[in-house]
């Protein structure tokens, strides 16, 4: 009896070890793949680099450095639509990275369409400063602090404590608004990039509707809804319908 228990425990441990080892191994695999891709890029073999980066992404790796490097490779090949798409994906994860921002600006200068005037506000700058995970963490930290202060107040009944708690409550409220907005936008405002060299944006979801305006590769749009293979998009102040194949979501 004892022996069988021992062996079964040993067996379980071995399984766990193998599982972890394989996970580690897989990760190692990905790192070597990234290395390979980067080497291709350094050697100037951009098509091979692109293939390797894409393979990495297919393995399920969502890493901003991979997106960024892939964007660079696409840019070298002149595929500005795909380049911007990759850069935007990287920016979503690392919103404060200056390299990503710089490259986006550079590639955007090659765009055919005039960029719609974007409002600059403090609200927007703060909103974009953190990615959604960072907002989540910030929110919960402020929440914990507020709760701690409330706890103190209940036990100590000090006026100073109350005002500190109240101010943290305000900060929590503001932070929750930003966080909530990020969650809402993630679900409802789908940003996308135009992939086709030139695409007609129409007044309705179908080819029989008249043309509203034209967009070219690389332009950043927001998808509002989808109907029968057509996406209703917003480009600055303009709205229209574009065929869903001409866009790719970020």
């Amino acid at each position: 009896m004892r022996n069988s228990i021992k062996t079964s425990i040993l067996l379980i441990l071995v399984c766990i070890f193998i599982f972890n080892a394989s996970a580690l191994f897989a990760k190692d695999n990905n790192i070597s793949l990234l290395d390979k891709a980067n080497n291709y890029y350094q050697a100037g073999k951009y098509s091979e680099a692109i293939t390797s980066y894409e393979e990495l992404l297919n393995n399920g790796i969502k890493n901003p450095y991979v997106f960024y490097n892939l964007g660079n490779a696409y840019n070298k090949k002149g595929l500005i639509g795909k380049a911007l798409l990759s850069y935007y994906r990287a920016e979503r994860i690392l919103p404060r990275d200056q390299d990503i921002k710089h490259n986006i600006e550079f590639v955007k200068s090659k765009l055919k369409d005039i960029e719609p005037v974007s409002e600059k506000s403090i609200f927007l700058s703060v909103y974009r400063f953190l990615n959604i995970n960072e907002w989540a963490i910030l929110n919960i930290i402020i929440f914990f602090i507020s709760m701690g202060l409330l706890f103190l107040f209940i036990t100590k009944r000090n006026e100073i404590i109350f005002w500190v708690f109240f101010s943290f409550l305000l900060i929590l409220f503001i932070s929750s608004c930003f966080f909530g907005l990020k969650i809402y936008h993630r679900a409802n405002l789908v940003p996308a990039v135009v992939m086709k060299a030139e695409t007609d944006v129409r007044n309705g979801p179908g080819v029989d509707y008249t043309n509203c305006f034209k967009l070219h590769e690389g332009s950043y749009v927001e998808i509002l809804r989808n109907e029968g293979g057509w996406d209703e998009i917003k480009y600055g102040n303009l709205r229209g319908w574009a065929s869903e194949q001409s866009l790719e979501k970020i």
Binding site: V117, F151, F179
Partner: protein, 611 residues
């Protein structure tokens, strides 16, 4: 008597019939209209009479015979409309009137229906003399006339003014319809197939009269401008005219008399075609000059700036105007090279194009304007060298290059805009064009650990559960505190309620000292009991409580001033008795005891009343 009855019945019947007709009043409405109120001798006028109402079995309306018109009945048509369920119908009768003499004529129209005569509005037509039209005997370079059909007074011709044009050179196609017969409807013209040509219609249509072989014909002329697009053989297809004419029977019928012709004629639809015309379009001589972009014709060029002097960084408009004869539409903007020394100090932006096409004398021409926006970058005086425009002149058979006059422009020193910290930034129409570094930033190196950013913290339930814990903790603490306080409060309440009872038990202890004549102990306990009572009753600490504290407390708690006075007095007595050297009698002690007791009772009562 019988006779008079018959007469009476007959009269009644007649009356009834008349009434009957009166009641079944078939109201008809007649409207007469003509297609033109002014006509010329020989030019037909179409008269349409519309009758609406109870229109079954209508006879033909009568047009009072006017000897100065030849009137021909053209037909009737019925029109039924259904509007909101109501049906109304109308019948139209068409007549063709051929004026024979000049003058103004009234045309009365009436119809006799079921005994009633209905009249239409009277139409007045004025007939003028024949218009004198130039005959087409002096047509320009007419090569071959190809009449399509002879006979019966109808034929069509189509001719071109040149058969060997260069590509892009105007060929004028003239189509003519000759008509001697009386037309019963507007002729329909179908344009020929013009594949291989760029076509522009030439207006207006010509309309005149001419005499051929002693016979007078009415002529309708339609001109089009054709520009061959490709060299080689091109065909102008047949043009078609459809019309309906009166058919005059050709038999030697004794009844073939003009008198009878008007009444015994039928309608016939005729279709006439022209023969196709072959055109040989010549290709332009090669080699063509490098800046030739396809313009064919005769042109002039003009260039101008909209200002003579302008500050830096402000938009300047260069207008290039090309005018002349030829296909204006096909002119392409003359190129301004950014590398040319002229434009080294300018940034070239958008061009706006507008054109005006003229069709005077049936020749296509006009002008095309190119407005180019330039932004001068440097101050100074610059001159724009002449702008070249090369075209092919088919009349000369060669290429011509025309130049605009050289232009001078003075650029003043610009206002210093806030953007000057980066001199390579340009701003126009809100779009900032940045001169950035040459390339994108380099790729990021491979990290030691490849982290996977799933960014789904907001989606994980564990995250949201974490919010719940501190919240529960705090709420729990809150309730706990609340309960505790409530309990304390209860204790206090209970203590307060039992204060007098407790005091009485203390006082009992004091009582024992009366009998024992232990003055000091008695008075000490008496006072202590009272203090304790106050402490319990009002939940204040009895430590270091003095009579002044008590008085203050009691007045704060709303005890009546009389009671407080009483307390003061009694306390004074007690103090005196306690600290006096002589002994206190038991009566004194009892008296003080009762005083304290009554005080306690009074205070208790007053507190109760307060509540």
């Amino acid at each position: 008597m019988f006779k008079s009855l018959k007469k009476y019945i007959l009269c009644l019947l007649i009356l009834l019939v008349m009434a009957g007709t009166a009641f079944s009043s078939d109201d008809l409405q007649l409207t007469a209209s003509v297609d033109k109120y002014y006509s010329n001798i020989g030019e037909p006028v179409t008269l349409t009479v519309s009758i609406s109402g109870n229109v079954s079995n209508l006879p033909e309306p009568e047009i009072a015979g006017i000897s100065d018109f030849n009137i021909t009945y053209s037909g009737r048509s019925q029109n039924i409309t259904l509007i909101n369920g109501k049906m109304s119908s109308s019948i139209s009768f068409t007549y063709i009137l051929f004026p024979k003499k000049t003058g103004t004529y009234k045309i009365p129209v009436s119809i006799n229906y079921k005994g009633t005569v209905y009249s239409a509005n009277t139409i007045e037509v004025e007939v003028q003399k024949e218009k004198a039209y130039p005959t087409p005997s002096s047509s320009p370079v007419s090569t071959t006339e190809e009449p399509a059909q002879q006979g019966e007074g109808l034929f069509v011709t189509a001719e071109v003014d040149r058969k060997n044009p260069y590509i892009g050179e105007q060929v004028t196609l003239t189509f003519r319809f000759f008509c001697r017969a009386q037309l019963l409807s507007q002729p329909e013209y179908k344009a020929p197939d013009l594949k291989g040509f760029w076509v522009e219609d030439l207006n207006p249509q010509g309309h005149f009269y001419t005499t051929i072989d002693g016979k007078r014909y009415e002529v309708i002329e339609i001109k089009s401008a054709l520009f061959p697009v490709t060299p080689g053989s091109l065909t102008i297809g047949p043009a078609t005219v459809r019309c309906s004419v009166q058919n005059f029977s050709k038999s030697n019928d004794p009844f073939q008399d003009p008198f009878f012709q008007d009444y015994f004629s039928t309608n016939e639809v005729k279709v006439l075609n022209t023969d196709p015309i072959q055109i040989e379009a010549l290709d332009l001589p090669k080699p063509a000059p490098s800046d030739f972009k396809g313009a064919v014709g005769q042109f002039q060029i003009e260039a101008s700036f909209d200002k003579t002097e302008i500050p830096q960084n402000e938009p300047l408009t260069l207008t290039i105007k090309i005018k002349g004869t030829g296909n204006i539409n096909s002119i392409i903007e003359p190129q301004l090279s950014e590398e040319s020394p002229d434009f080294k100090n300018f940034k070239i932006y958008d061009t706006a194009v507008s054109d005006k096409v003229s069709k005077d004398n049936y020749i296509i021409g006009g002008s095309k304007e190119f407005k180019i926006i330039l932004i001068p970058q440097k101050e100074g005086v610059f001159s724009l060298s002449p702008i070249n425009f090369t075209y092919f002149d088919p009349q000369k058979g060669g290429y011509e290059t025309i130049k605009s006059e050289p232009l001078k422009i003075k650029i003043l020193k610009g206002n210093q805009t806030s953007n000057t910290n980066n001199p390579s930034d340009d701003k126009i129409n809100g779009k900032t064009v940045k001169q950035l570094d040459v390339d994108v930033r380099y790729i990021k190196p491979t990290p030691i650990k490849l982290k996977n950013y799933t960014m789904d913290l907001a989606n994980s339930p564990l995250y949201w559960v974490l919010y719940v814990f501190p919240f529960i903790l705090v709420v729990g603490t809150f309730f706990y505190q609340y309960k505790k306080e409530k309990m304390l409060q209860n204790i206090v309440t209970i203590k307060s309620q039992r204060a007098s009872k407790m005091a009485k038990s203390y006082l009992n202890e004091a009582k024992s000292y009366i009998t024992k004549s232990k003055k000091v102990e008695f008075y000490t306990i008496l006072q202590k009991s009272f203090l304790r009572y106050v402490s319990d009753k009002f939940s204040v600490s009895s430590q270091g409580m003095t009579i002044e504290n008590i008085i203050e407390l009691l007045s704060k708690k709303g005890i009546k001033p009389e009671t407080i006075e009483k307390l003061k007095e009694n306390w004074k007595d007690i103090e005196i008795a306690r600290f006096a050297p002589k002994d206190s009698t038991s009566e004194e002690m009892k008296e003080n005891y009762n005083n304290v007791l009554s005080l306690i009772t009074i205070i208790d009562r007053e507190c109760k009343n307060e509540k």
